[in-house]
Symmetry: C2
Subunit: 260 residues, 2 copies
Amino acid sequence: MKISFIGSGNVATHLATALNKMSGVSILQIISKDKSHAKNLAMQVKADYSDELSRLKTNFDILIFAVSDDALEEIVTQIEIPDNRILVHTAGSVPSTIFENVTRKFGVIYPLQTFSKSKSIDWKEIPIFLTASDESTEKRLSHIAKHLSRNNQVISDNQRFAIHIAAVFASNFANAAMTISQQICEENDLDFALLHPLINETFAKALRNGPKHSQTGPAKRGDTTVMNKHLEFLQNKPVEKEIYEIVSSFISNRYANDRS
Amino acid sequence: MKISFIGSGNVATHLATALNKMSGVSILQIISKDKSHAKNLAMQVKADYSDELSRLKTNFDILIFAVSDDALEEIVTQIEIPDNRILVHTAGSVPSTIFENVTRKFGVIYPLQTFSKSKSIDWKEIPIFLTASDESTEKRLSHIAKHLSRNNQVISDNQRFAIHIAAVFASNFANAAMTISQQICEENDLDFALLHPLINETFAKALRNGPKHSQTGPAKRGDTTVMNKHLEFLQNKPVEKEIYEIVSSFISNRYANDRS
């Protein structure tokens, strides 16, 4: 099975190097507008490379688009391929049907993890979500996914989109909350490491009992005295103050019945 | 050293049972408006109990107020004690000076952890922050704190207040973000457990490299195409949508320079 890639970023790198180890699979070509990245990855997986889409070799079985969600739509319109080739992308927010007008066989391989290019990752633990245009395509993508991870399943385009948004809240926004926390510590000569035990327990608890059953704090208690003091403290940080207000009202409303 | 408690909640329970094991320390009395809680805790630490503040025995050396931040202010005004007794509270958002008009010796013992009454906790890992009115009081509180945890230090009232707010963001608000994530998963027939590996890596990364250097996602990339699609998805959830908008703009502004 010959697999080519468009893109040479974190996802492309982790996917290509992992698939390259799969028996019966060879990486054919890496296409990326960043020529040095393309070359670098191509050498790791013994593939050809180019920085021009026009140089795409069309004798692949599967072409994986591992580019940013918004770059994807633009690139797809420029693709012309023979029949019976499978087009796949890795974008959470783009429906598989974006390939509809280019081929009859298409799908999505969506690994749910925050990739850092440097750090090697344990694929076996990463959930992989598949979407496919038809049964035979689903079979082929499942074959790949099962090689990568024991934790994979078929979902719809809508479900993948929902997971993508859920991941923004649980990962990106939780990290942003910790960033504000780190900022406040540093502005008050406090080592953020002092909060590590609290943060560890917060996440352990949320994964153990579910976040819905792990909420604590002044907003949950409806403790307006404390919340108003906090807002006063934040008065010179308008954005952080607004975040405090809206997240607190989300929590406060959610647990209002537990209090009354 | 005789220690009495006002309050019988999570913090009172964890503190009293831990201090009761300390040689040279005896728990004298538990006062709590919830008589059954008071009795329950009193039996665990072999102390007297009452649900009336007027029954407070004044032959304690240290009286620890472990009540909610806003209940504290009201109770303190009702306290009358002989000289040379030490009054202590455990509230993050209340200055130690709340005791100024009641005694010359006072302080705060602030353990930074999210306590669940049931789950026993490993005190040794919990940071304990001390504030004291004078050196001799600081010595006595440090003596107690060192017995509870290897991780304790003296801070000012202002620093404790900053830590309290930092903890709301890192713990309460991060949990709220995960709660919204769980909600979105359930509304789309997706098991929230699918996000556990992502959440684990998110927090491991934030503690390893600091959240400031761990941010990812569409807001960091300034990917407005994706963000607008997400906002459309959230259009029937006004509060979640507002949280998405304000947190995204915080992230987007913060990393604007990395992009340009």
